[in-house]
């Protein structure tokens, strides 16, 4: 079991409210990702759940039990740190088994569980090595091994993949997701990378300036963002926002259209524009188009469009994918 509930949690450092008022329900066995720009309070929120920071006000419940004043050691959670935070003077075996040793488990049981975890993570041949003798990816695995071996109520991940190179990151992303499903353990994962958030999460929490902007499944956030912030944060390349006359026509202060929802033609219907930069990825073409009276719009076409910079194009937004926002930025 591992459901986590936040009730009006507040965290201030001095007079500075990092988290003004956060309430959240994390269901047992679900994979929840906290995402947001840097400084939005996502790591602080995770540390509050871990117990590494004290709440200023509000309650934190794990499995319905109030743990607000319970020290981290007694919350039954485990955490994977961005820096891995391995014990440098212990072998891989010692690192993975440390939590069990602290819990007073007998040596034979520790060995059995450590070896089992090492097997899952392909670390069996490294068990006697010290962390400094391992590569970044292997250290990451040790940190994960340390987290899973204790069979916690939930895993807390603090940007665990941000120190890995791009290829390894994609691979570890898959492994973490698979592991979480196999172990059927609740996971809370902090990242600033919205691709990680979209691919790994059952549910995403979008944070901005300490406030929870939206909480929902990845596709809910993509299809029905509640406000302009979420609309701009989820999706890559970013959603285009258009104000002025074009927006007024649609009955909104601002309209938003994602690059993949703009049909690009050489001489069809729509806005006249001049291609400023064209990026050819083979699988996709990204066009940055100057549209007189509107500004620069980003358009995305599937495959190679055969359109190059300084070329004239027509952009037609797909009406069914238009997002409309009022003056305060809320979705209409």
């Amino acid at each position: 079991m591992g459901s986590i509930t936040l009730e009006h949690v507040k965290k201030s450092f001095g007079t500075n409210d990092i988290i003004p008022d956060a309430s959240l329900e994390i269901a047992d066995k679900s994979f929840v990702v906290f995402v947001g720009p840097s400084g939005c309070g996502k790591t602080t929120l995770l540390r509050l759940i871990a117990g590494l920071e004290d709440t200023t006000a509000g309650k934190i419940l794990i499995d319905g039990k109030d743990v607000t004043n319970v020290p981290p050691a007694k919350r039954g959670l485990s955490m994977v740190f961005q820096s891995y935070a391995l014990y440098p003077h212990m072998s891989v075996r010692g690192n993975i088994g440390f939590g069990l040793k602290m819990a007073g488990a007998p040596k034979a049981e520790i060995d059995k569980k450590v070896e089992h975890a090492a097997g899952i993570l392909n670390l069996t041949s490294y068990l006697e090595r010290k962390p400094r003798e391992l590569s970044g990816g292997q250290r990451q695995r040790v940190a994960i091994g340390r987290a899973i071996v204790r069979e916690p109520k939930a895993f807390l991940f603090d940007e665990p993949l941000s120190n890995l190179d791009a290829a390894l990151r994609v691979q570890m992303r898959l492994e973490v997701t698979r592991l979480q499903k196999d172990l059927a353990t609740t996971a809370v994962y902090v990242t600033h990378d919205q691709v990680e958030a979209m691919t790994m999460a059952d549910k995403i929490v979008v944070l901005n300036a300490g406030r929870i902007e939206q909480y929902g499944s990845p596709l809910e956030l993509y299809e029905r963002p509640v406000n302009q912030f979420v609309a701009g944060f989820i999706g890559s390349p970013k959603m285009n926002f258009i104000g002025g006359a074009a927006a007024k026509e649609a009955g909104a202060a601002t309209i938003g259209i994602r690059p993949e929802h703009i049909t690009v033609t050489k001489d069809g219907e729509g806005w006249d524009g001049m291609v400023n930069v064209a990026e050819h990825l083979g699988s996709d073409t990204f066009l940055y188009v100057d549209v007189p009276g509107i500004g620069q719009l980003t358009a995305r076409g599937t495959g190679e469009l055969g359109i190059h910079s300084k070329q004239k194009v027509r952009l037609m937004p797909q009406q069914q994918h238009l997002h409309r926002f009022d003056e305060a930025g809320h979705a209409i």
Binding site: K74, M79, Y87
Partner: protein
């Protein structure tokens, strides 16, 4: 582009470094040489460098006239004793300042350091009077207290910088792993802090061993360490260079040997934060 050095440049720097090293080492070398001369040769002008009548009689006379082993034992006891006292106070102090700092932590650290800026002679009279009235003059205990407290600021500073280097994440990881404060201390912090504690310990022993202001002023015979033992050869019956040198050589030998064998630890400790 990497900077290139030619062989001749390396040769010139090597010779230069040896010359500088020799100049720095020369007084010690001269002291050791003088300790093997007769008093007459020690005074000779022009000075005799290697060609003189080698003798070990000075060492015999020194040992006869004053009890080297008593003073050496006093030095060992006061240096180690004062270091142990300083460490006992400094480890928890530096610990809490590094891991649970408050708004005032920096101020306290600076205040502690500021006490080292005052010349010790400024408090000689009050301390002397306190020691006289409490019967601490010329006692090992008295010396241990004054040396231990005198070096305390430096010890706290050194330990503070070492403890600061231990990543907070690792301590938090231990907490998440279910370690209580006590277990965190035994299994995680102490093993990581040992190199820093060891080099602070060594440096403090050397500082206490060489301390010559308080040892000279607060002891005369019973608790006198080697510094007082050396000084006794420079005053009462005029100067005896050869015997003074013999006494000095005997006084620095133990600490030199300790330093030699622990140099790796010392250098590692002193450059801890700088190079990792």
């Amino acid at each position: 582009m990497a900077r290139r050095t030619t062989n001749s440049q390396v040769a010139v720097s090597t010779v230069g470094a040896w010359i500088v090293g020799f100049i720095i080492f020369f007084p010690i070398l001269w002291m050791i040489l003088t300790s093997f001369k007769t008093e007459l040769d020690a005074f000779a002008t022009p000075p005799k460098f290697l060609f003189f009548h080698w003798t070990t009689e000075n060492y015999g006379i020194v040992q006869q006239r004053s009890d080297y082993f008593l003073h050496a034992m006093n030095s060992i006891i006061t240096a180690v004793g004062s270091t142990v006292i300083a460490m006992l106070i400094a480890i928890p102090a530096a610990w809490s300042m590094a891991f649970a700092p408050t708004k005032r932590t920096k101020d306290i650290l600076l205040w502690m350091l500021s006490t080292k800026m005052m010349p010790p002679v400024g408090v000689l009279v009050p301390i002397y009077l306190i020691y006289r009235d409490t019967q601490l003059l010329d006692t090992r205990v008295g010396l241990i207290i004054v040396l231990g407290l005198g070096n305390l600021p430096i010890v706290v500073w050194m330990l503070f910088t070492y403890f600061k280097e231990i990543p907070k994440d690792i301590l938090e990881a231990a907490r998440m792993d279910g370690a209580s404060i006590g277990k965190e201390l035994i299994y995680v912090l102490t093993p990581m802090a040992v190199p820093g504690i060891a080099s602070t310990l060594l440096l403090n022993i050397i500082l206490a061993w060489n301390e010559a202001f308080w040892t000279l002023n607060l002891t005369t015979s019973a608790a006198a360490p080697l510094t007082t033992f050396i000084a006794s050869y420079s005053s009462p019956e005029g100067l005896f260079w050869a015997k003074l040198s013999a006494a000095s050589t005997m006084a620095i030998a133990p600490i030199l040997i300790l330093g030699w064998f622990s140099q790796k630890q010392l250098v590692r400790g002193l450059t801890f934060g700088a190079v990792k």
